[in-house]
């Protein structure tokens, strides 16, 4: 089963993403911020990471950079959840090594479609 690490400091977003992905047949691990995600990433392998940008402790951009520095995550697709009001985050994310992005607000279908673009 495809394993996804979902990172968001907002519990409701996390619930929504996790629920949707599980409905979509993916295995999901949740993390509450970048630091938590990094710790979980170090402790396991994931086929995809989907992360919020604005988070306490470690933001999404830093997380991408840190993940890319891990051998196990060198090629792993990492998607950023950006907002329409911060387009510059896409560039920042790309430079840090993000695979792509999904613009908030999104609905469950958009999420699944985007995920399908990067994992089989």
């Amino acid at each position: 089963m495809v394993k996804i690490l979902a990172v968001d400091d907002s519990a409701s977003m996390r619930q929504m993403v996790t629920y949707t992905l599980k409905q979509g047949g993916y295995e999901v691990t949740e993390a509450v911020d970048g630091a938590d995600a990094l710790a979980k990433a170090k402790g396991g392998q994931f086929d995809l990471v989907i992360t919020d940008v604005n988070m306490p402790k470690m933001d999404g951009i830093t997380l991408v950079r840190e993940l890319r520095a891990l051998p196990a995550f060198k090629f792993t697709p990492i998607l950023l959840l950006t907002t329409e009001s911060a387009p510059e985050k896409k560039q920042e994310g790309k430079q840090a090594g993000a695979t792509g992005w999904l613009v908030k607000p999104f609905d469950p279908d958009q999420l699944i479609n985007t995920i399908k673009k990067v994992v089989n």
Binding site: N54, S85, V118
Partner: protein
């Protein structure tokens, strides 16, 4: 897939309320002169999360409104707009408004459109300020404005990307033809690092083939020799032909994520595939030439876009620093955020317990089990010579039990920071409304106390702190005239002392005017002319209902209503209040509270065959009744002459309808108890020990009983009732010989 988003709303509300608390405390923390960027980041992030969630869950009113806040906050944190008290106020009222909106939506009620438009207007005024200021010449800031203005942002970004895409296409003369043509030729030259962005060319081709028939030509010319091959680099490039009716934008969208990591040229296919291939072949020579040109053109455009983005970023120097800075800023927060989480959930009866506390308990239970097995072993093979062993075992059991009890109590302990949370806002609002300047500090936030005590202390603290701003701190002018800094200081500190928690509220204001207060009390007939009072007694008068030293009542001071309530609340928690004051230097109010409400120090006594307990804090004196000091009052009650006062005598056996051992007052025992300065003499058969008892609820399985505060289990396993002195006082007002429940007529009379 259909997912019912409403199932996540509850969580969204919860976290939004938490977010609002974080925003509120952050905003209150802001010093307009030296705004802390990290605090602004925290506040921004909270607004950002609420907006994001609201957008996702379809609460457009919330997301629209929060968007305004976010924009303003973004400017503040980027230093594009100055943090002024006005801006903070506008944001604070926006927080209130947002809280109201969320509450209304949660309760499925109508939104308060008036409050909304007022708050919105306040925000817009602040937003407009910056717009004017920007004309003063901050080009970078101005450029980033459309990006910052949300709704437009996305469209702007799309327009930008299609613009950069159409530039090279427009350069080709065939551009127009391509639109109606049979497809696209795509030159895809990824940079070597493409794979390390997690993007896979195969995925892109798969997406393209969803649009139409795709032919892929791979160029491996640049592939280095095998020994130099870096498997992590992408050295291939591709020529793709896509026969499709899809627009160029649709094709480009497939490459959206790799635009910066590859040269992507999209040109229309000519009428048929063959000529196109021919064309391509024919143009083989010029192609390398034109390609770099196109590529550089693209690069330029991209650079332009990047430059714009960079300008935007430059305009927000803080934004780039955010990643590092925020981490540091939030490190100090988790405890607070956690605290707020608790506060938000305080309405439910659950409690969050540190696993550490539970581990301690488990350890103790472990010890208890060891002790138990030791004792049972002694019991099985007991002989007289093992007596000492048995005594040791019992002593150990006693210690285990006590430690276990203490640890269990600790589970109910929560940090006082929950009670602190509302205070900064109170100080801010009150001082602003009164035109005062106050620096407010809080200490001992991690001091723990019982959850129930904590919940009940919130209102008194709010009241006392507000009172300090209103009555304690002087106007800046008055302060300066007195040689003090214009900005007053109020601090609140909590700490443990013995079995109590002490909370001190200190201000450096004008102090309590002893003479004025005493004069008022005399005028109100509370203190007789010529009667001398100690300082403590005089200061205690501020808690007397109906006394306010303020000449004019303000919205905040009221008319002396409140301070008496403060005292009553604290008394109901078995706590005490102490006031110290020095004219011109300030006032200190000290609250002392028991750490827990589940244990009390009690005086045990006996009436008939029953044991009762009266809280030791209520006991003033136990004495032997001197018959000469007993007098009857209109045949309805008896009073005892005690310390120059007449104290009503309560014969508990009459109130409780039991058979006493002694009827004769004279020579019997009486306990003088007090509640809110009302005294009662409780006539008892016998006085027993003073001991700590665990308070058990009578209501849990039965009902509240007037005059009874609860029950406890005595050493022999039987139940003893704990008296509620306030209840007894109330009952005694109906006449001590009256039945427990006053008659209706009499009650009316009393009212």
């Amino acid at each position: 897939m259909s997912v019912d988003l409403s199932q996540f709303l509850q969580t969204f509300f919860e976290e939004s309320f938490e977010g609002l608390d974080i925003m509120e405390s952050g905003l209150l923390e802001l010093d307009p002169q030296h705004p802390d960027t990290e605090v602004l980041h925290t506040v921004f992030r909270a607004a950002h999360s609420i907006k994001g969630g609201a957008g996702t869950f379809g609460l457009s009113a919330i997301s629209d409104f929060t968007h305004r806040m976010e924009t303003l906050l973004d400017r503040l944190r980027a230093g594009e707009q100055t943090v002024t008290p006005e801006v903070v106020s506008a944001l604070l009222s926006a927080v209130d408004c947002l809280r109201g909106m969320l509450e209304a939506i949660k309760a499925e009620q109508e939104l308060d459109s008036e409050a909304l438009s007022a708050a919105q207007q306040a925000l817009d005024e602040q937003l407009a300020l910056r717009d004017n200021g920007a004309k003063g010449g901050r080009p970078g800031a101005e450029q980033s404005a459309p990006a910052g203005s949300g709704g437009l942002g996305r469209r702007g970004a799309n327009a930008g990307s299609s613009g950069s895409g159409s530039a090279p296409a427009g350069a080709g003369p065939e551009a127009g033809e391509g639109e109606q043509g049979g497809g696209w030729h795509i030159r895809f030259e990824p940079e070597a690092h493409l794979l390390t962005t997690g993007n896979d060319p195969a995925r892109l081709f798969r997406a393209l083939s969803d649009l139409g028939a795709l032919t892929v030509h791979c160029e491996s010319g640049e592939l280095p020799a095998f020994e130099a091959l870096d498997p992590e680099s992408c050295c291939l490039s591709w020529d793709l032909e896509l026969v499709t009716g899809a627009t160029e934008a649709a094709v480009r969208e497939v490459f959206e994520w790799v635009e910066d990591d590859a040269v992507i040229e999209i040109t229309p296919l000519s009428g048929s595939a063959a000529p196109a291939a021919e064309d391509h072949g024919a143009a083989a020579e010029p192609a390398p030439e034109s390609a770099p040109v196109a590529a550089s053109a693209t690069a330029e455009v991209e650079e332009g876009a990047e430059a714009a983005a960079a300008a935007g970023a430059a305009a927000r120097p803080a934004a780039t620093a955010s990643s590092g800075g925020t981490a540091a800023a939030t490190k100090s927060k988790p405890a607070k955020a956690g605290a707020r989480k608790e506060a938000a959930k305080k309405s439910s009866s659950s409690i969050r317990v540190d696993t550490e506390k539970i581990d301690v308990l488990i350890d103790m239970v472990g010890e208890l089990v060891i002790t138990q097995s030791m004792l049972s072993q002694i019991g099985k093979e007991f002989s007289a010579d093992r007596l000492e062993e048995l005594q040791d075992g019992l002593a150990q059991l006693e210690r285990n039990t006590r430690e276990l009890q203490e640890s269990i109590m600790r589970i109910r302990m929560v940090p006082i920071s929950f009670a602190y949370s509302r205070l900064p806002r109170i100080v801010h609002d009150t001082s602003r409304a009164l035109g005062k300047e106050v620096e407010f500090t809080m200490e001992g936030e991690q001091t723990e106390l019982d959850k129930t005590v904590m919940e009940k202390i919130i209102d008194p603290l709010v009241h006392l702190v507000r009172n300090s701003v209103d009555h304690g701190i002087e106007d800046p002018a008055e302060r300066q005239a007195a040689g003090k800094p214009g900005k007053g200081k109020i601090s609140i500190e909590a700490y443990h002392k013995g079995g109590n928690i002490i909370i001190e509220i200190v201000d450096d204001g004008r102090g309590i005017n002893r003479d004025k207060l005493l004069g008022k009390a005399r005028a109100a007939g509370l203190v007789e002319e010529g009667e001398e009072l100690s300082d403590a007694e005089v200061y205690d008068l501020i808690f007397h209902p109906g006394l306010s030293t303020h000449d004019e009542a303000t919205e905040y001071s009221g008319r002396g209503v409140g301070m008496d309530v403060v005292k009553r609340n604290i008394r109901s928690l078995s706590g005490s209040l102490n006031v110290r004051s020095a004219p011109g230097q300030g006032t200190t109010i000290t609250i002392s509270l028991p750490l827990t409400l589940s244990i009390l120090d009690g005086q045990l006594f006996r009436v008939g065959d029953q044991t009762y307990i009266v809280p030791l804090v209520s006991v003033i004196e136990s004495l032997q009744v001197d018959g000469a000091k007993v007098s009857g009052v209109t045949g309805r009650g008896e009073v005892y002459h005690w310390r120059e006062a007449y104290v009503p005598i309560v014969r508990l056996h009459e109130l409780f309808d039991t058979e006493p051992m002694r009827h004769e007052l004279s020579g019997g025992l009486m306990v003088i108890v007090e509640d809110e300065e009302t005294y009662l003499g409780v006539f008892v058969d016998d006085l027993l020990d003073q001991q700590q008892v665990v308070i058990k609820s009578l209501e849990a399985n039965y009902l509240r009983v007037p005059g009874i505060a609860g029950a406890t289990i005595l050493g022999d396993g039987t139940v003893a009732l704990i008296l509620d002195i306030a209840g007894l006082v109330e009952m005694s007002r109906g006449g001590s010989r009256q039945p427990l429940i006053p008659e209706r007529e009499e009650s009316d009379e009393a009212a």
